[in-house]
Symmetry: C2
Subunit: 317 residues, 2 copies
């Protein structure tokens, strides 16, 4: 009873008649059982990714489609929605929203090198700049109400020390005055598996389904918390200061921080660590029932958060 939409070669062939992208040669399911249904659609001209949306409502999707189209048009390497002969990208296939996008080259890297880290930073800056001319707004699915309800769920599971830490950081973040921080389009989930590299060259950002309008420096902090770490085998450690410096420099060459952003930078790093500590705690204590799932250690983000809090204490800010 899993939610996964099965498509036949014939169904997709018929559907593709609305498009001008050639004839279907091959259809290949990607990782059965993923959150959405994904297929590689290979025509005699090019390779595409077709997504059938199993969870997003039809009203939520136009934002993501317009955003990817806008960013691609402004030179940000990302999947570009494919329009049919009538200029429409978002379709209904078997009664569900369906979108075809271009397929990017490359694959994700486990241990990014300094050159790759810098490219992520500058591409992120370019994405933020390109977002300035994007007029639609999208709300963050991980906004304050999500912080509140998720914290309420996990709190009874936590040891007293962790509960105190979580409560204190939630209160600290709520008390911040962030109204003057520049806002715009953020990716929101720029983890290693959402950036493709073709050798040392960045192939593109993917998975824009957490993208929304929010604080830009928060997006930078999310990315830094992922890309600028010490790696010990497959384990992630603390912040690698060399990578962090290079990341920030590469980003700020294209979009320098404002005074406000400099002041609240450490707070944004804390917010980003809190965001993923909280979701990891949620996923740890409330994994899908009756499923065999890998559990990612929430403590990585707790340690990052504590590292930042320690720095903040030393700076008395």
């Amino acid at each position: 009873m899993s939610v996964f939409t099965t498509l036949s070669l014939e169904e997709v062939s018929v559907w593709l008649k609305d498009f001008s992208i050639g004839n279907l040669v091959k259809l290949k399911g990607i990782a059965a059982g993923i959150t959405n249904t994904n297929y590689f659609v290979i025509t005699d001209q090019q390779k595409y990714v077709l997504t059938i949306f199993e969870k997003h409502t039809a009203t939520e999707l136009p934002y993501f489609v317009s955003l990817m189209a806008h960013l691609a048009k402004h030179g940000v390497p990302c999947p570009s929605p494919v329009q049919d002969k009538h200029g429409i990208a978002l379709h209904l296939l078997k009664g569900k929203p369906a979108l075809m996008v271009t397929c990017l080259n490359g694959e994700d890297v486990a241990t990014p090198n300094l050159a790759q880290v810098k490219q992520v930073a500058s591409t992120l800056a370019n994405m933020h700049l390109a977002g300035e001319s994007f007029t639609e707004t999208g709300s963050n699915q991980r906004a304050q109400d999500w912080f509140d309800s998720t914290a309420q769920m996990v709190m009874p599971k936590l040891e007293a020390q962790d509960a105190t830490l979580l409560t204190s950081e939630l209160n600290y973040q709520k008390g911040l005055h962030v109204d003057n921080l520049p806002r715009g389009v953020i990716h929101g989930d720029l983890f290693r598996d959402n950036v493709l590299f073709d050798g040392d060259k960045l192939g593109g950002f993917i998975d824009f389904y957490y993208a929304c309008s929010d604080i830009l420096a928060y997006d930078v902090a999310i990315a830094m918390n992922e890309w600028c770490l010490h790696h010990n085998g497959s384990d992630l450690g603390s912040i690698d200061q060399d990578k962090a410096n290079a990341f920030l420099a590469a980003y700020q060459t294209l979009r320098p921080f404002t005074q406000q952003e400099n002041t609240l930078w450490l707070a944004m790093l804390r917010r980003a660590a809190l965001r993923f500590w909280l979701s990891r705690l949620h996923d740890f204590y409330f994994p899908p029932e009756g499923e065999l799932t890998y559990t990612k250690d929430p403590n990585h983000f707790k340690k990052l958060l504590q590292q930042y809090m320690h720095i903040a204490d030393n700076l008395s800010i």
Copy 2:
């Protein structure tokens, strides 16, 4: 960075010296990446299952250990905790709580037949009766606060119609007077994958980690909602009345319902459907981030709930 404890043959051999169960012959990991770490421990005498608890705190576990020992002693087919030479079952292994239990025969069945359904019902009744002499109490991890916080999380994701249905049923359940319903040890999660069959013979109930003190008829309702369905291939349908009648008869032969239980039986079926509709909604909309997970359709339980509400409307209760 998954949480999974690796054990070597040597480590387990050394640890087993505290027990009188023979010499270790083989150690075999079970489904890497499961919620807890599980190993088959095969000695020259018998086969056991060793669980390293990754999530439960050491204070939560004694209840489950005592319960399984109590039920096994009273003839309920279930894993029996293995005590060491000093009479202690719950150990620390690599700093984590560890428990070894006997390994039951059999496997789970996809489409139970009538004979199997009846055995589940009578074994459940025996479990409830055996629980009467169990003096420890365990709190339900899926109690009112879980209903509330989970509903709060999923509500923003729902279409208006579903949000109304969910709210209305939550209120209906909150308004019920259930104080006079018999309470005791419930399994809480008696799904098909938690019952082993050796051919047509029930081998045992497993996975007692949702067991707690709660309303007995609620446990019966959870089981009926799983075991008494029409099956259409791998899809689950509505209640199969023949199976339901046989299930209830088999159960009540051993533990007849009280007047109060008869009165609130339909309400308990609704509560059980609501419980799993809610958790399925949660798992659907908030699966572990960045994971490829199968999603189970929440609508199955919504439909069951609606079926019961329809009956309730017709009975004007």
